[in-house]
């Protein structure tokens, strides 16, 4: 079980929660279960969400493991120039 913090707007889509507990071993499972538990998040996941694990931001490595006790923070998928 990992605790996941949602940024402000995402929290609104999850029914006003800014922290949720999810039983997930990696980013792929995290997104799947978030979509199941909070259907309002699905369109956001489809559009792209970045995952910060202990301060390191992952955009595409869905196989990245979520270590127990790590700080998991969801962020908008970033754009760059």
């Amino acid at each position: 079980m990992v605790e996941v913090t949602l940024w402000g707007s995402l929290g609104t889509a999850a029914g006003g929660k800014n922290k949720v507990d999810v039983e997930a071993k990696d980013i792929r499972e995290l997104f799947r279960k978030l979509g199941e538990q909070y259907p309002g998040l699905e369109p956001w996941i489809d559009r792209g969400i970045a995952v910060s694990i202990d301060g390191v931001i992952y955009r595409d490595t869905w196989s990245k493991e979520l270590p127990q006790g790590a700080e998991i923070f969801l962020l908008p998928r970033l754009a760059g120039g």
Binding site: V56, S63, E71
Partner: protein, 752 residues
């Protein structure tokens, strides 16, 4: 990822040196081929008809007269680009931006296009296309667009991100919020509070090379596209989707690129050229004029930002808050969201709140511009930080050092930071001789910090070793700033050979696996990781071939300094085999020797910079002159220091233009009034001093060589550093970018 990206702390032979870039001679002799330099037999000239109105319904388009003009081979409208986006809202916006469908949304919006045998005929044909408009009220200003009475640009837009679902449509597409703590309580603990509103005007990325492409669609469903882009694989996906082509049948080749800076990250003219070619049955070359580039491509957001920061007498910030309103053109964007994330990222704050509003206006679709959205937010925040330091009576550098984020700080956008470099850049600024140099009358010094995320992404690289022992490196990230040189250095380093024996190219989309664009400062970060991985795979093959040549087990062969060595005393009489010797025998030991890599490069690490600037202001005319400029930034490891310095200098130069002169000016009719470099003034060499740079190297733990992205952060601090310098020179706080001479004079007069 089948590759360990962790920093290894190795010593370098090639990396960190400054060889001549492989594309240099071609570029200075004119042999390099840019977007408009490519031609195909029988090609036609494509031209686009654009809306003269800021906002209007298209009631009818009659192309019949144009089609009858001799020499015209195809005329297209939105009907020739049917909606194949299958509910993908962002791609639908791209499609609509390529060719208006029912409504034009800004001055310059494409409504039709022609392909003809020559430019003159194409121009004549455009004049024969009859477009009937029903003009609608328009809005171009960010604050005006948010008012309830503002003309609605899209009545299907209801603001996202509100606690209650809105019942009325709005020009605000999204509200986003970041932060932690309790700002109300934090301001209650402050002895000093600064609260100000700021505006920045819309700018263009200002790339010297206009958008250009040659498209050739065959009747068998295959197609070729030669194009100036930051990401040919992404262009292939976009074009294939918009035209209903199979991606594998559309080969996209990227030309040399005369600047992109984020403005060449999504398609404009390319689907139009492909649609014209498909209809005409011949190749079509489409090159935008500079006027079209300004009216219909780029630009960045115009913004309106409120900032409030409070601090105790001892200089500790107790609370910080900002509301950021960013234009996104007539389509939804995430630009204010990025501003809200980056605004206070440099600081350690217990109480912080940022709110962003994405605002539709009748201006061109906003595109990314180098660390998109961060420079405007930094301008507002760093101006207020400077003013607060003055009110408290503390040195602005010391004030920033005292409040700088550090490892373990919760970032204003959410997560806790790992090791970061804001502190070292500030310490370097504090001790830099620039900070102590004397200033004369009417001169001011300013400094500011900046933050940008950086990211990696999907990357694929091939490394092929020829029978003569030289190495071809095929990468898929477009070279926007010298990456072919940097990646050649990395391949040479890993293989243990000389840089001169490596030749890097940017491969086309049919020759290599998918690569994300060169954006997010990812080019060298990501492709160097893939190059290291490919080289290590090639070394496995080289060791195997050496083992065959010696007839010994491969496990007894190691690779050191560019040669295979038989390990152990029993092989004492075996001389090492060089890469060249192994390559020469490759035909007899298993065939070609190559290394391939495909990976997702993540863990780019956030980036910080501190800039110092001296400005002289003529109080009679408001004219400014940049006297001295210093950039201090962490590169992790500078693979080719000259090109890292180039990135630092380029970002500063663009920031100087943005801060002092560049601005989209719209008339009351909603038409752009300065769509050319005479009236939209970017800095030229004579406007700039030599921009000094200081590279800090704090290794990125998530890259084998410690590399960080360096391309974008350098444009974040300049707006603020220059505003602080001008404000210090004239004694009036400047709150509106650009600080053009009339604006400086107006600020002086308003102050009395």
């Amino acid at each position: 990822m089948n590759f360990d990206p962790r920093y290894s702390g190795r010593n370098f032979s090639s990396v960190g040196t400054r060889p001549i870039r492989p594309d240099g001679v071609d570029k200075v002799t004119g042999r390099a081929r840019y977007g408009a330099d490519f031609n195909m037999a029988g090609q036609l000239v494509g031209r686009v008809l654009r809306s003269p109105h800021a906002h209007a319904k298209i009631t009818k388009i009659d192309t019949s007269k144009a089609e009858k003009l001799p020499g015209v081979k195809a005329v297209i409208t939105a009907a020739d680009l049917p909606d194949l986006t299958d509910g993908d809202a962002s791609m639908y916006d791209v499609l609509d931006n390529c060719m208006a469908r029912g409504k034009v949304l800004y001055d310059g919006h494409a409504v039709a296009a022609v392909a003809a045998v020559d430019a003159r005929t194409a121009r004549q044909a455009l004049k024969l296309i009859e477009v009937y408009y029903e003009i609608l009220p328009h809005v171009t200003d960010v604050d005006e667009a948010m008012k309830h009475a503002a003309p609605l640009i899209n009545d299907a837009i209801f603001t996202e991100g509100l606690e209650e679902k809105p019942v009325k449509p709005s020009n605000v597409t999204k509200r986003s919020q970041f932060g932690h703590g309790d700002v109300h309580q934090g301001f209650g603990h402050a002895d000093f509070i600064v609260e100000r509103s700021f505006k920045t005007e819309q700018t263009h990325q200002g790339y010297i090379e206009p958008h250009a492409c040659v498209a050739n669609v065959s009747s068998d469903g295959t197609a070729d596209l030669w194009v100036c882009t930051q990401g040919h694989f992404v262009y292939r996906q976009h074009c294939a989707q918009l035209l209903g082509l199979e991606a594998s049948k559309l080969r996209v080749t990227s030309s040399e690129i005369g600047g992109g800076f984020g403005g060449k990250t999504h398609v404009w003219a390319e689907p139009v050229a492909l649609a014209l070619s498909r209809k005409a049955g011949r190749p079509v070359k489409l090159v935008m004029t500079r006027e079209e580039v300004f009216r219909a491509s780029g630009p960045t957001s115009a913004t309106s930002i409120d900032v409030k920061i409070g601090a105790r007498k001892d200089g500790t910030i107790t609370a910080a808050e900002a509301t950021l309103r960013y234009t996104s053109g007539p389509y939804a964007g995430m630009w204010a969201e990025l501003g809200a994330m980056t605004a206070f990222a440099c600081y350690k704050l217990d109480n912080v709140k940022t709110v962003g509003y994405e605002v539709l206006v009748n201006r061109p679709k906003t595109a990314a511009y180098r660390a998109p959205s961060a420079p405007m937010a930094a301008f507002a925040v760093e101006s207020a930080v400077d003013e607060l330091a003055k009110e408290i009576g503390i040195d602005p550098v010391e004030f920033r050092i005292k409040n700088a984020a550090q490892e373990g700080t919760r970032a204003s956008y959410g997560p806790v930071y790992g090791p970061i470099g804001i502190g070292p850049t500030l310490e370097a600024a504090k001790h830099h001789p620039h900070m102590k140099a004397p200033l004369a009358k009417n001169q001011g010094r300013g400094m500011a910090c900046g933050f940008w995320f950086n990211f990696g992404g999907q990357t694929c690289t091939d490394l092929n070793i020829g029978m003569d022992g030289t190495v071809s490196l095929a990468v898929g990230t477009v070279d926007v700033g010298g990456s072919r040189a940097s990646l050649s250095l990395v391949a040479a380093e890993e293989l243990g050979i000389d840089y001169s024996h490596v030749k890097a190219i940017v491969a086309d989309t049919s020759s290599l696996g998918y690569n994300d664009m060169t954006d997010g400062s990812r080019g060298t970060f990501s492709s160097s990781m893939a190059t290291i991985s490919a080289a290590r795979n090639a070394i496995k093959v080289l060791r195997d071939r050496a083992a065959q040549m010696w007839d010994i087990p491969v496990d007894d062969v190691i690779w050191e300094n560019g040669q295979a060595i038989a390990k152990g005393e029993k092989y004492g009489n075996l001389s090492p085999l060089s890469l060249k010797e192994i390559a020469a025998q490759s035909g007899k030991t298993g065939g070609p020797i190559a290394g391939h890599s495909e990976l997702v490069a993540d863990g780019a690490g956030v980036s910080f910079a501190t800039h110092i600037c001296d400005i002289e202001v003529d109080p009679e005319t408001g004219a400014t002159r940049v006297l001295r400029y210093t950039v201090i930034q962490d590169a992790g490891k500078a693979v080719h220091p000259t090109y890292v310095e180039g990135q630092y200098q380029g970002g500063a130069a663009q920031g100087i233009g943005w801060a002092l002169n560049e601005e989209y000016i719209y008339g009351k009719d909603g038409r752009l009034q300065n769509a050319g470099f005479l009236d939209y003034r970017i800095p030229v060499c004579s406007d700039l001093p030599m921009i000094d740079t200081q590279i800090l190297e704090i290794p990125n733990p998530n890259h084998p060589y410690g590399v960080r992205g360096v391309g974008e952060t350098s444009i974040v601090p300049p707006l603020a550093a220059i505003a602080n310098a001008v404000s210090n020179a004239v004694g009036v706080r400047m709150t509106h970018i650009p600080m053009s001479p009339p604006r400086i004079l107006a600020a002086l007069e308003a102050e009395g």
